[in-house]
Subunit: 321 residues, 2 copies
DNA sequence: CTCCTTATGCTCATATTGAGCATTTATAGG
DNA sequence: CCTATAAATGCTCAATATGAGCATAAGGAG
């Protein structure tokens, strides 16, 4: 056990794969029961860089090679450690976590080490707009947030709170911005609508139903950061292909993209833009689909990265439900 | 002195202001002579969050309040510490730096603590395309990079190196992407064209002229990260206003934006887009300019943040020299 | 009073987007 | 073999957004 005042640097990985259409996240069990993100200590003596350290313990623990890896953010607020103590075996020390986003096309093998793949929308039900606005927003979130805004001390604060919730959740005619995943989570935390918020202040009362599954420590915040980053990134870098199999149909690519951004896309326009981007090329082979005309199998053209200026996939929103 | 094996977490701030038109950076002297970024240790006992810690020592050391602050990246590669030892008084310990970008409109007072404002292009001459392609690219960088590519062991590696330099520097007809500041710096470091690269491997031979001023430790890399981030961010968030004075002319705003992105903008189109964005409003007051028709003074409409979906300034490139 | 300089206004041709309609090509069931 | 269905693809059209440039307006300096 390490005494208080000490500083521990850990690495947390949000490992994302995709199972046909749902975005999947590698979760490991934690002592408390709430799922956690894979966590590994950073050892300054043996790890030359963070990324090397990360790849090393992931491949050790989960028997699993990471492909694309990107640093997200470093989390170090006081108060993170208590819930982590059990998980990391460090008691009282300040724990800093460097969060990483990792993408892999490899979802087949349920990885070793007790990890399981979990649909990320299980933790963020309000983020999935693929089949329209999630009911929990109108039923639970919006009313609770408005109540919270009304309770503010001064008229000025009330206005500030109202602005904040309108921007975060696209209420009152403002448009929903799918990239504000972290803003929304932090707002819900502050208002006390997610389990972690109550747990962290010792309140054992349950939150309303539909607010998603809690995670250990501040891992849900880290996941929110990862989703925000990934949703932004698909639009300016062809990262989706890091989680696609070698060959895929355009519909599959669309389903995966939709799963990431969280809203339905206009099929024809998605294809038109994809076509212009030059990111994919047909293989001539067909997929033996279920029902309907067979689709051609495409593959990612890595060369495209060298050609144009770096851009990602267009995500033409499909309006109307 | 702290023994090796220990881990120190520090905070580095890239503090940016703008002096009429040049982007300015707060630099402090380091023991070696090369300028450094302000650095402060992170104390887990007293700092509740990184950001609080950062603001605290900056205001203490530089007598100076930070406005906008954003975490950039956490740097921890082995080998950073040697050059830092002198600067931080820690010898042999592994030093991790959490880099922050801070913006302030306050450039007037040369801050306390020995810091000075420095034009950031002094460290990155090849990044300033405001008056056309910097001569050093064709004269020094491109030939050296091509030589490096030709020296690669296998044809495959040669091609990979060629691709890399073409993408990074927009050679051979590829377009220059102003956001790849970090890619370019890392490439130059790898090739040994910047002083830091040679210093870090004990080579005392000078680099070619025109490759910019070196900084302490890996601070130039941190600065490159900051510039990359800021160049990307101005396009999707109205962050420029964080370094503008309360009132400004549209030309001034344009000059500052140009200074950040590093290329000239098409004036009329810049204004048209700005106008549509609703970010600014005229104040009716005029600036007593030097030469030419007086310009109206504008101010940032903070309310605009609440209105549309979050976007930044359009940066319509002005083509032709 | 004229020229120079910078601020502003406007126009036009060309992409890019957002929405939908129309065809083509399999599979499943009489 | 013929027909209804389900997808995959192809195309069209109007509404915007973007890239370039011409034209005017308004001070200050000879």
């Amino acid at each position: 056990m390490i005494g208080s005042g000490a500083l521990i640097v850990g690495l947390n990985a949000v490992i994302v794969a995709v199972d046909e259409d749902a975005p999947q996240l590698l979760a490991v069990p934690s002592g408390e029961g709430a799922p956690a993100l894979p966590f590994g200590p950073f050892d300054p003596k043996t790890h030359r860089t963070f990324e090397i350290g990360l790849r090393e313990w992931v491949s050790e623990q989960a028997q699993f090679q990471l492909g694309y890896v990107e640093q997200l953010y470093t989390f170090g607020d006081m108060g993170r450690e208590a819930p982590l103590a059990e998980l990391t075996g460090t008691d009282g020390a300040r724990v800093i976590s460097i969060g990483y986003l990792a993408l892999t096309p490899d979802t087949s093998n349920p990885p070793e080490g007790g990890g399981v793949w979990r649909d990320w929308y299980r933790f963020f039900p309000w983020e999935d707009w693929r089949i329209g606005e999630p009911a929990v927003i109108a039923a639970v979130i919006a009313p609770a947030l408005r109540r919270w805004a009304d309770e503010a001390g001064s008229p000025g604060k009330r206005e500030a709170r109202r602005d904040r919730l309108r921007i975060a959740f696209g209420l009152d005619g403002m448009t929903w911005n799918e990239e504000r995943v972290l803003d929304r989570y932090e707002l819900l935390y502050e208002v006390g609508l997610v389990t972690e918020a109550r747990r962290d202040r010792g309140d054992r009362e349950a939150v309303p139903a539909g607010m998603g599954e809690a995670m250990a420590s501040d891992h849900r915040r880290i996941l929110a950061t990862a989703i925000s980053r990934l949703r932004a990134k698909v639009k300016y870098r062809p990262v989706v292909f890091e989680i696609m199999p070698e060959r895929f149909t355009l519909s599959h690519l669309q389903r995966v993209t939709e799963a990431i951004v969280g809203y339905p896309l206009h099929k024809q326009n998605f294809r038109r833009a994809l076509d212009r981007s030059g990111f994919v090329e047909g293989t001539g082979r067909m997929e033996a689909r279920t029902g309907g005309r067979p689709a051609e199998l495409f593959r990612f053209r890595r060369e495209a990265l060298r050609e144009g200026p770096a851009s990602g996939l267009a995500t033409p929103r499909l309006n109307q439900g």
